[in-house]
Subunit: 361 residues, 2 copies
């Protein structure tokens, strides 16, 4: 079961604060979802995510389908939550983006896409039905339909053709999902494409809205387009998506992008940035990003961010020590930076929500 | 301040159970020390070690001297405990072993050893004084003197010459340590060498015992010698080391080795095995080692060890999931196996101690 209620709407922007209730778990929006591509948020244990009160994470259909694979879930008397020992919610990406960015030797047809696994070259066929089936098998709380994710820029003709395909696949997905008898438990969102063409985005929204789904995702952004295009497209989409349904901007972004997108009326986010940047030695702080590898931190015994209450700062680990760990390739360095960044993102979202409720954003 | 009291002595073997009190922290012996070579126990946070009630870990002089380096500690208004945020005790290896196993272009003289850093090739000189100085600088609770660690086997003539050098260095170390005015806080142990020659081992023990130190380490074993030699040498050493001082067998070992050495009267152990094996996918269990990479665990949804109370087993992570994490190169896999193995070693030591007290070992 999914329900979404708007608690506050900004007078200064399109921002809104809401409550998303999914299968009995309440998510306050705007919300950021940590990315657990392969069935684990990189370097973090489930109990650490819960300590930050994260309740919804993202996992990836493409990656999990390839490894550990369908057979493991078929044999397992449990779902992805239970395999990961995660007692929160899971949203799964459809794999459309990865099929187009990672796999080799793709062949697209009306029925779906055939591709080679980037792990072992094995041939795999994703149809809209197969992608829904797998997400039902792993019991994803929010499922995404197979879509075609385009690079940027593309010609209008290509964007139109691609959008038509994505819409046919969406249609098939919705039909199959409704017939599954599990649409109450496993919600399906639409993904709105349309590249950088405002009228295609509008048409994509209207098409999706007609299908009356529990939520709507804006896809095909953060793929190399100029910022102005990204925000124009987001703006168009949030204009034409229903006010009473959650809106999810896929794969976005750095903190500034999230702030911007919230002001445009987006409710949900996922991004590899807090975890991936941590692995390159970057920490988000109240004064901006800092790259701990920089030599100016060699003898800097202050915290990553003074006043931060994350486990790394609260325990008192210094920049100099974390820098040492990073240079010595010690896992604890990645762990501390990841915890710090995920805590930063959590605080960012709490702050944005509060700002909306208090009428400041 | 260091004190050691024997609580129980076995009637069946030379095993003993004791209490080692160092600077106000009580350590129950026999004790296993997790290895934190570069100032962090690999993949583990300090709060996780404390959760297992580990109170004493090992760090390495050679590695810390090279990186983060002496200057960092000179500028830092704190010690290694404070840098690592570790509120337990730290024993530091002297670096003798690493100088001989890792560094290149060594030149040994009466005064010490000159070598090239394995990180950047920089020339470094370790004298007995410099090694003590560095351990005082980082405020090690138990310090080790510079020694020469020989490969196995070596000729008797070489073993004798080497032992003489180690003893001269020990003598210098003790003199310098006593003069430092910090011998109450920073305890110095002797390291007993002598290769595989029982009479040299005996002589090494007698020489060291004459210096009346807070504890004694047996070095130069686990370097490729046959098991029979290892235990014969350990047996000789524990015969000639004082009963009322702690005995530390350096770098040993797998669980069976620890059980054996405890029966020969050893009180303290360190070994990379629980953490290093975890990184290769090996878990210690009540039924022996298991390599999680093995295909027979692909669909094995049972715990690493049924009935184990470590965070991995208690949370319910299955072999199949941990195997997936290991193959997907996910840090959580290493973390869960490391926690499991360190918990196993902790339980092993608790069990051995209990066995001695109850007269079963």
């Amino acid at each position: 079961m999914i329900s979404f209620t708007i608690e506050a709407v900004s007078k200064k922007s399109k921002a809104r604060a809401g409550r998303l209730n999914i299968n009995g778990v309440e998510i306050l929006t705007p919300v950021f979802m940590p990315v657990g591509t392969q069935g684990t948020v990189k370097s973090v244990a489930p109990w650490e995510l819960r300590e930050f009160d994260y309740r919804l994470i993202l996992a990836n259909t493409y990656h999990l389908y390839l490894r550990p694979g369908k057979e493991l879930f078929q044999r397992f008397k449990g779902d992805l939550h239970s395999l990961m020992r995660w007692n929160g919610l899971i949203l799964t990406d459809s794999g459309g983006y990865q099929v187009f960015s990672l796999s080799k030797l793709r062949r697209i047809s009306e029925d779906g896409v055939e591709f080679s696994s980037h792990i072992d070259g094995r041939r795999i066929f994703f149809s809209p039905q197969e992608v829904i089936d797998f997400q039902l098998l792993i019991n994803s709380d929010i499922m995404m339909p197979l879509d075609e994710c385009l690079e940027y820029p593309v010609s209008r003709a290509k964007a139109e053709r691609s959008l038509l395909l994505t819409q046919r696949w969406l249609n098939d997905s919705v039909f199959y999902w409704r017939a599954s008898g599990r649409s109450d438990i496993n919600s399906l969102f639409a993904i709105v494409q349309g590249s950088g063409y405002p009228d295609l985005r509008r048409q994509a929204c209207e098409y999706a809205v007609d299908l009356d789904l529990p939520g709507y995702a804006i896809g095909g952004l953060s793929v190399g387009e100029p910022e102005s295009v990204r925000w124009e497209m987001t703006d168009v989409c949030t204009d034409f998506l229903p006010a009473d349904k959650p809106r999810y901007l896929m794969g976005v972004g750095v903190p500034e992008d999230i702030v911007k997108a919230v002001s445009l009326g987006v409710d949900m986010f996922d991004c590899v940035v807090p975890t991936r940047y941590a692995r390159t030695g970057v920490a988000f702080t109240s004064e901006g990003k800092l790259n701990i590898r920089n030599s100016r931190f060699k003898y800097d015994f202050s915290l990553l961010d003074e006043g931060c209450a994350c486990p790394a700062c609260k325990t008192g680990f210094s920049r100099a020590y974390i820098r040492h760990l990073v240079y010595a390739n010690e896992i604890l360095g990645v762990r501390l930076l990841t915890l710090h960044n995920l805590f930063f993102y959590r605080q960012l979202m709490i702050g944005l929500r509060q700002g909306i409720i208090e009428g400041k954003i």
